[in-house]
Symmetry: C2
Subunit: 518 residues, 2 copies
């Protein structure tokens, strides 16, 4: 049963499991105690700290173990901001950081601080010059991930670290996704990571703070881990985490080459075999094991469910797979399609045969979901034979005549057959379309699609269905209150070569205006 | 090798180990994910929450898992204080709470709030009426432990909860030490606990917040555990923690009876066999497995070391065993002796034979340490045969003629033979004694002992040595800069029937004045 969501969590590495079992016997006592069991626990803790510090590239006394990557980020950002409070209360970060960083920034703002998000390009990377541009005299801290957790794009950490060092701003690097593959390059000041991303157990994060970096731990005082992480040390798990980090590092060179080839294969074959797909993220400067793509006219939750039925476990940044019904902030910042989004992240040891099977299964599953949604479909002969007509950015392009294929009745059916989350089954109204001028023969001068109350990907599907009904140069206005529409309608325009005019407020939602160009 | 420090940490319960191993295989995935591995993890998490909630006596949706007991306390106090911020910013707590509670109170004060510590009696218990008396119109939260972690005394939680409920103040109960033995009685509002105290793994705490209690989680927002605990769920450990709690509860009735008898035996025999010992804590209203006593004229660190050499692992609240060189705040609040302090906390399954052996070994070890320190000693014939001449409070009494036994030379030796932590070996000066009037025959009218720079238990030993040299009604003044002297000189007076006159500031330390009464 192929599990392809290593970026969320991975099964314990066999070395971690062994280390954990040994440490359960040898390292359960309080390492602060003076008796035999305590001293033994202290030795294990010290050894784990040394191993982890070596892998991170810092001194053992610069590294503490936290209870998770998230708490490492929270503690690191709060401590660094407070340590430089006299300098100012401005925080710089990229727009595609992990939610733990974004939430820290929001908490900082709520407490009277301020922050600036550095935008990313369509591959998800920040521009070092742009990052340098947001650093100010009152910037207390800058944050940048080593690589993005949703699309795998590596950030120019060394360049940004150099710019930060020039102006004396400490840089915190969230290395959660990359630390298992290698040390973070450049002159970073603080670093955070999470053990269960590298085959270690849950319950262990790490926070490194270089000597000389001003740091004032926040929250109630603590006696453990230099006062930087609260609570009794989770020692057996710490021992397992350090052992696992050492083990995956020793396998990293070979395994990254192998997985990189598998991911390249996914990138190529998905674009070839699945019509209307956008493979996102930098194709070169990326994590070895991770690839993400979005499928037009596809409901992400249904797609994940269908893949799960076929025993493939993947993740998604589509709004319908999040509890908040908001699409991934990463895809949003990149300006790429969020509907039908799939993240494949291969665990160490992932089998090539499983990847092949995934690539066999995926096109049919996507086609099936689209059919159920009544989405515009490519001709039956096309899906696989579709020429890999990709533009420079590596995005797939539409390879079938589909415009104007829908009629009122099929719209209604499509709405019912895949009831979006949050809607009441059986009471979905058909999408209303208003033509101007009404009922005149020939293409409409303009057209309004009322998709209020309809969830992703319905608003985009309805737009695609009617775009052929208006004259070239005329507009289609989509009324929608689904958050994903704000991202996916412009992304659709970009993919389909139509003009996205803009968004206007409307009763109960927003009006997204699209001009037909071709 | 008898491990008698279960109150710090206990080896994994066999059931916890089994559950942990199973959950490492079944529960490593992200419980928030929709695929098979995620759903399986979610089922395990839900089942663990139900089991824990049942043991706590709350609804599953009132309980979250945190990364430790300490983080549960931090999150619980901060969230409850913030939730009732409109009511006021006053916090009530007992003086003998766990450091995580005290540190939370200090952080609250640093942020502009205030707190009141309710004193305890000589057994370590708060008086419910006194607790009720500190509740004010602006009290946002009250905290009370279910039982004390250092001396085992149970607090009148149900009575205090009733008083709190009467005036509408929520009560947070830190049940870290007692939850394995049974549910907390009374109408508490919040409850915290720590799994590795009940044979679960490290890395798991729990926080229960009753419905209807105003609660506003602090710190950066989080998506997990209702936003009340940050970071990826430590699922295998959570599963093991819940399984262990259920297991120890099913054994609690029998095991508590058995351990209670062993502890009773320790309480009795220690008082009988060790001269100048104070067994502390309530002899009846107490945890079943925990007993604490303090030995006059004994260096706690040396005592622990000598017991460790004989393979007994125990803990101590003596100043010399803490990194801060400050005696336990619990012993201080109780007003009992802190020197030579030993806490014995028996793990489940502790063997009676090991306890017997401990009671065989202890008197000799204490005598040996005293001898090395040049402490006043009971006559050789007395130690075991010493009549159990205990007063009403259960404290042991001095059973040998020791006063005035010391001479200058032996003092100097004693200081060298047991070099106190922080002192430079080999350069310990003899304690200086100034007599008034100087060099006159007969008892001195008053006497000053300069024990500056000398650590516990030296100042008390020196006091004991010279008290016989002054006339009845005259005073001995001890100059000391060791924190423990502030607690132990009055405690010595209480034990020896002398009058503690008081403390005055002095150059480089304090002057403790004692009047000889007998």
């Amino acid at each position: 049963m192929p599990y392809f969501d290593a970026a969320s969590a991975a099964p314990l590495h066999p070395v971690a499991r062994q280390a954990l079992l040994a440490a359960l016997d040898e390292g359960w006592a309080d390492p602060a105690r003076l008796y035999r069991e305590g001293r033994r626990a202290r030795l294990l803790l010290d050894a784990a700290r040394e191993a982890a510090a070596e892998a991170v590239g810092c001194r053992p006394d610069e590294l503490v173990f936290t209870s998770s990557g998230t708490t490492a980020v929270h503690a690191g950002i709060a401590g660094a901001l407070s340590g430089r409070r006299r300098v100012g209360r401005h925080l710089a970060l990229s727009a595609v950081e992990h939610s733990s960083v974004l939430h820290s920034a929001a908490a900082h703002e709520a407490a009277g601080g301020s922050f600036t998000e550095v935008p990313v390009d369509r591959t998800g990377a920040v521009d070092p010059a742009a990052y340098g541009g947001v650093l100010r005299a009152d910037t207390a801290l800058a944050c940048l991930q080593s690589a993005n957790h949703e699309v795998g794009t590596e950030q120019p950490v060394a360049e940004v670290a150099a710019l930060c060092a020039e102006v004396g701003v400490p840089l915190l690097v969230d290395a959660a996704q990359s630390l298992g593959w290698g040390p973070v390059p450049g002159r970073w000041s603080l670093l955070t990571a999470s053990a269960h991303k590298w085959g270690g157990p849950a319950g262990v994060g790490l926070l490194a703070v270089r000597k000389g970096v001003r740091f004032a731990p926040q929250g109630p005082a603590g006696e453990r881990e230099s006062g930087r992480a609260a609570g009794f040390e989770n020692l057996p798990a710490i021992v397992a985490a350090a052992a696992s980090l050492r083990a995956v590092r020793s396998e990293a060179a070979a395994e990254s080459t192998r997985l990189r080839a598998l991911v390249d294969r996914i990138r190529t074959v998905v674009a070839e075999r699945v019509p209307d797909v956008e493979v996102v993220g930098d194709p070169e400067r990326r994590l070895p094991h991770l690839v993400t793509f979005s499928c037009l006219y596809v409901d992400g939750e249904t797609l994940l469910h269908e893949l799960d039925r076929r025993e493939f476990s993947v993740s998604s940044g589509s709004s319908c797979t999040s509890s908040t019904l908001i699409p991934s902030h990463v895809l949003k910042a990149m300006g790429v399609l969020s509907e039908g989004n799939v993240r494949v992240s291969l665990p160490a040891g992932a089998a090539g045969a499983d990847v092949d099977r995934f690539l066999e299964v995926l096109p049919g599953v996507v086609a099936e979901v689209r059919e159920r949604l009544g989405a515009p479909v490519a001709p039956l002969s096309a899906p696989r034979g579709c020429p890999a007509d990709q533009d420079r950015t590596g995005r797939g392009v539409w390879c079938g005549a589909s415009q104007g294929a829908g009629a009122s009745s099929s719209r209604s059916d499509s709405g019912v057959s895949a009831t979006p989350r949050g809607a009441v089954p059986g009471v979905v109204d058909p999408v209303l379309i208003r033509r101007t001028p009404p009922s005149s023969p020939g293409p409409a001068a303009s057209l309004v699609v009322d998709a209020l109350g309809r969830r992703c990907p319905i608003p985009v599907i309805e737009l695609a269905k009617v775009i052929g009904e208006v004259a070239v140069g005329a507009t289609v206005t989509v009324l929608a209150d689904d958050e994903a529409a704000r991202l996916d309608i412009p992304a659709w325009c970009e993919m389909r070569g139509q003009e996205y005019v803009g968004e206007e407020p409307a009763d109960l939602g927003s009006a997204y205006v699209v001009r037909r160009l071709s």
